[in-house]
């Protein structure tokens, strides 16, 4: 296997693993946050506005990790910084 093939395979594998790990962990964490939010919403319906606002903002902050994973995966797949180097090294 030459350098380009190895780099392509590793990039695709790493992108898939990145998305898998990010999605799994953040999905679990967001489910936990929503479940806690709904519990407190059922206990105190009067505070619905405050609870749902705080819940949405915390969800966004939790979700940032998944978004980082997504961006890294997209960079690996579509804008890999080492791709140009591999092609020029293979051409030599």
């Amino acid at each position: 296997m030459d350098l380009v093939a190895i780099l392509g395979a590793v990039s695709i594998l790493t992108a898939g693993l990145t998305l898998a790990g990010g999605a799994a962990a953040v999905g679990w964490a967001e489910g936990y946050a929503v479940s806690s939010g709904l519990t407190s919403l059922a206990q105190q319906p009067d505070e619905a506005g405050s609870i749902s606002r705080t819940m949405f903002i915390s969800l966004a902050i939790v979700e940032t990790s998944a978004i980082y994973c997504f961006v890294v995966a997209m960079i690996l797949l579509f804008a890999n910084p080492f791709w140009q180097y591999a092609i020029s090294a293979a051409a030599k």
Binding site: G49, S50, R53, F56, I57, A60, E63, T64, I67, Y68, F70, V71, M74, L77, F78, A79
Partner: protein
């Protein structure tokens, strides 16, 4: 599949021959839409029982934003209203206009979201000094102890980057899911994904505005001092509208 709007030239500026990419061009489109709508809506402002439909719609929007800001800051909502409201309405318009085919939404580019997040980064000292004074603003960085100074400065910068990447990644993921569905099942399936993208876009506009509000209003004068100093500072929106 991954379209980078920053590298697609929309047109060349006449006489100067400067290339204008799609991010800038669609930002201008959104700005023109917003300007025309707000001009139409605020043309014949009046009080009384009979007001135009435009004015009623505008009052609903402004009052909803005011209420949200007032819930977080408890007072002084009018200080943050122009900044936060503009951010919210701009991002919301960008995200909603994605349903128009071929519209290249500016929020799917890291340069737009980075610029918006930079505005928030500079808004923190601006609003902090405006509402609490220089001394109190600088004191925020050495709390709870001066040893935390580098971490506090670092947290300002990383939270700005996180805001930019969050909005960018959410909108970009909607765009990419749409195009993947178009490749796989181009008939019906992209439709619910587009609806999901609209929903995500609205939530993201709300979240961006709320996080910006929390950052810029993190430094404030104490509630008691503020109320004692200027009891009529929190002006009632019903009187102004």
């Amino acid at each position: 599949m991954l379209e980078i709007y920053d590298q697609q030239i929309a047109f060349y500026l006449p006489y100067f021959n400067i290339p204008v990419n799609w991010t800038i061009a669609s930002t201008w489109i959104v700005m023109i839409v917003l300007m025309i709508v707000s001009w139409l809506a605020t043309r014949h402002l009046k009080t009384g029982n009979k007001v135009s439909h435009w004015q009623t719609a505008m009052e609903v929007i402004v009052k909803a934003i005011y209420g949200q800001i007032n819930e977080v800051t408890k007072s002084n909502a009018m200080t943050y209203m122009p900044f936060i409201g503009t951010l919210f309405i701009f991002i919301l318009t960008c995200n909603i206009l994605t349903i128009i085919p071929e519209f290249k939404t500016p929020t799917a580019s890291l340069s737009t979201t980075g610029a918006l997040a930079l505005m928030v980064l500079f808004g923190v000292p601006f609003f902090g000094i405006k509402t609490a004074g220089v001394k109190k603003y600088l004191k925020k960085y050495i709390e709870p102890s001066p040893a935390m100074l580098p971490f506090n400065i670092l947290s300002e910068i990383t939270s700005t980057g996180a805001m930019a990447v969050r909005l960018f990644g959410n909108v970009l993921s909607g765009v990419i899911i749409g195009s993947i569905c178009m490749i796989l099942v181009p008939f019906i399936l992209p439709l619910p994904m587009q609806v999901l993208g609209l929903f995500t876009g609205m939530i993201q506009a709300y979240i961006f505005a709320m996080l910006a509000l929390m950052y810029v209003s993190s430094v404030r004068a104490d509630e008691d001092e503020e109320a004692a100093a200027s009891p009529k500072k929190s002006l009632d929106i019903d009187e102004t509208l």
